[in-house]
């Protein structure tokens, strides 16, 4: 698994989110448990201190009811002393009854002198108490006391007897069991978190792999696709909606690629055909001519045919390059604003010379007021001459061609109509296809490149215009170039 793979990132993300949640959850669980345990402990300590206070009270009460100690009789008979012993016994037995064996108890008077201390309270503990747990005559509080081997929870419990004498009861109880419990809990939580995280990251990675499996499929198929097997498609069965969308887009992209590859294939096969035909003619003519001794006019004829075919090759190559430039290099166009009427008049005067040879009459029909358009004069010139040359080529001697301009809304419509042989209905939709030629009309002139109308269309498109054609066989053809006016 790569470090920057979605699978890795997703499982890391899931795991870390879960980790934060688990740590927060178990942290608060631990804290709350600890609080509850301490509160219970503190309550018990308070209870114990209260009990001791009760015993102390009853002891003091008893002391009150006994004869005053300083009376002579008492001193003499030692009543006071006996009394004290009895009371002390009482006290001890009462405290023992409280079951405070494990606890350390200490009762101090207001001078800090220990009145009573439990038997287990040896000097070490007493020193610990003195250093970490100084007595306080006013406030009740709880404190943790740290010994060498043990920890204690201690209560400082001030208590006054009838508002006069003040005692401080200190009770400390070992924390061992609580700490043991909390440690166990901590271990348990830690192990659980670790286990859950490990399981989640494994499952996360597993499910991420399952979810991403279609992506892997797409990748594999994409790897397999080359220009020779563009027919491959990804099946969209049993995948999630998002993946379906991706697969559909991917398949649609391959559809488009396949189509354009087919188009390119077809086009290049056309180009090959177009280039090979003149070469085949030149080669064939020359080989045939060389196979025997010929007379000079025959050699001349072969030379002329070869030269014409070479010119045709050059024209095809030039037109192909021009077409590629027109279609993919919009910067070849240099736009300027000019008067279309003047432009058409110029074209008209040149066309007359071209049409003279076949005695074709050319007419011009334009409105008098100037019409401005934005365009590239050189390329528009090429467009219109392409159409005019076609018109001359397919119009018999003595025919007629009319160049006219009409304005429709904010666009200009230049029409070139001839009285020529026309175009068959079934050919009309094909004439803008590359290399399409209708049946050769004039066998003496070499055929054109078959790209003229394509070039015209590309130029019109670059001017945001269109070319339309209308024709009836043996009556004539009209090409209309519609260009936006300024």
């Amino acid at each position: 698994m790569k470090l920057n793979s979605i699978r890795f990132k997703a499982s890391i993300l899931y795991t870390s989110i879960l980790c934060v949640i688990l740590v927060a959850f178990s942290g608060s669980l631990f804290y709350v448990t600890r609080q509850i345990l301490y509160r219970d402990l503190d309550e018990i300590l308070t209870l114990k201190a209260t009990k001791i206070a009760d015993i102390l009270t009853s002891y003091e009460d008893l002391k009150k009811t006994s004869p005053p100690p300083n009376t002579l009789i008492n001193k003499l008979f030692g009543i006071d002393y006996r009394m004290r012993l009895i009371i002390d016994d009482l006290w001890r037995s009462d405290v023992r009854a409280l079951g405070l064996k494990k606890d350390y108890t200490l009762v101090l008077n207001n001078n800090g002198r220990a009145i009573i201390k439990s038997g287990n309270l040896n000097n070490n503990i007493a020193a610990l108490f003195q250093s970490q747990f100084p007595f306080d005559l006013t406030n009740r509080f709880f404190k943790d006391v740290k010994g060498k081997h043990h920890k204690f929870r201690a209560i400082n419990f001030p208590f006054s007897y009838k508002g006069k004498y003040i005692f401080v009861i200190q009770v400390a109880t070992p924390l061992d069991s609580v700490i043991k419990l909390l440690t166990k809990l901590l271990y348990f939580i830690g192990a659980s978190v670790f286990f859950i995280l490990a399981l989640t990251s494994f499952l996360g990675s597993f499910f991420a792999r399952r979810i991403l499996k279609p992506v892997l499929n797409i990748t594999n198929i994409a790897d397999d696709i080359s220009h020779t097997d563009l027919n491959l498609r990804i099946e969209e069965t049993e995948v999630d909606e998002e993946m379906k969308h991706l697969i559909r887009s991917f398949n649609a992209m391959i559809d488009r690629l396949e189509k354009s590859f087919e188009h390119i294939n077809e086009f290049s096969s056309h180009v090959a055909h177009e280039l090979k035909t003149p070469i085949a003619i030149i080669k064939g003519e020359i080989e045939l001519c060389l196979s025997e001794t010929r007379d000079i006019p025959e050699y001349k004829r072969v030379m002329i045919v070869s030269l014409e075919e070479i010119d045709r090759l050059v024209k095809i190559i030039k037109d192909l390059l021009l077409l590629a430039r027109l279609d993919y290099n919009p910067e070849v166009f240099e736009f300027e604003t000019f008067n279309l009427i003047e432009f058409l008049e110029e074209i008209f005067s040149h066309s007359k010379i071209l049409a003279m040879e076949k005695k074709i009459e050319i007419g011009l029909d334009v409105p008098p007021e100037p019409r401005m358009i934005e365009g590239d004069k050189i390329h528009l010139n090429r467009l219109l001459f392409n159409l005019i040359n076609n018109a001359i080529k397919f119009t018999p001697r003595g025919g007629k061609i009319i160049i006219s301009l009409s304005v429709q809304g904010d666009s200009a419509c230049i029409a070139i109509s001839d009285s020529g042989i026309g175009i068959a209905q079934k050919d009309l939709s094909n004439i803008f296809n590359k290399f399409f030629r209708s049946h050769q009309y004039d066998p003496d002139s070499p055929p054109g490149s078959g790209l003229g109308l394509n070039i015209a269309q590309s130029i019109a498109r670059a001017h945001h215009g269109t070319i339309e054609v209308e024709s009836s066989p043996s009556k004539g053809t009209t090409f209309r170039v519609v260009l936006p006016l300024v």
Binding site: S269, I279, K283, G284, L288, S291, H439, P443, P446
Partner: protein, 225 residues
């Protein structure tokens, strides 16, 4: 030997026709698929040379239709498409051979000869009847070692008779295989040419190879009459 050439590129058709005519073949021309199909269906050609990219009906379609109608004339496809897949489509449509443009003219002629002699049991380029020999490569005709000068038509006629040696050949057959489509088969020209050839071949030899079959036509036979 009469060949149909279906080729829309007029200049291409022109030099192929000239080259074949120089080799003493009779050539009919069709400029599109429909015309080619019509001519092939109505005339018994010895070979059809078919371009693939044709107007009206392409070469593949023409070839398929001819084979569907059980016209089993050898077909040589001639095209600028040199992709292997195109060749396979061409050959599978029923063509016997496939040659891509531009081609060497000599190779083209050799392939034409191969296809023309395919139906014969004898695969050599020299035809022999008794001591009469005809070399299809050099167009030299000899009888008993002596060279005979023949015009193109005479050669074509003799070649046809020799190819069908020991069989009766009718005037119609001769008109269909030696002359092109513009020839009027009811004219007397065949008789005239047969007499020319007979004169050149049989004069001075006791064994007369070309004989008339009354009411039917002619036969070329080894056995003396």
């Amino acid at each position: 030997m009469r060949i149909l050439l279906v080729e829309d590129e007029k200049r291409m058709a022109s030099f192929i026709k000239r080259g074949l005519t120089e080799q003493r073949y009779t050539v009919d021309l069709a400029y599109d698929g429909e015309e080619g199909l019509f001519l092939a269906e109505t005339n018994p050609y010895d070979l059809i040379i078919l371009d693939v990219m044709l107007p009206k009906a392409d070469g593949i379609t023409v070839c398929r239709e001819l084979r569907e109608k059980n016209i089993d004339v050898p077909i040589l496809m001639l095209t600028a498409k040199d992709d292997v897949r195109d060749k396979i489509v061409g050959l599978d449509s029923g063509a016997d051979d496939y040659l891509t443009k531009p081609f060497a003219f000599d190779e083209f002629l050799a392939r034409v000869r191969v296809l023309l002699r395919r139906q014969r049991t004898d695969k050599s380029t020299t035809l022999k009847v008794a001591d009469l020999e005809l070399d299809q490569l050099t167009h030299k005709v000899t009888r008993a070692g002596r060279e005979i000068e023949l015009t193109a038509t005479e050669y074509a006629l003799l070649e046809y008779l020799m190819l069908n040696a020991n069989q009766v050949v009718t005037r119609t057959m001769i008109s269909e295989h030696v002359w092109d489509q513009d020839f009027d088969s009811f004219s007397n020209v065949i008789n005239v040419y047969v007499n020319y050839v007979r004169k050149k071949v049989d004069t001075g030899f006791s064994k007369k190879l070309i004989q008339s079959v009354r009411g039917a036509g002619y036969i070329m036979k080894e056995s003396a009459s």
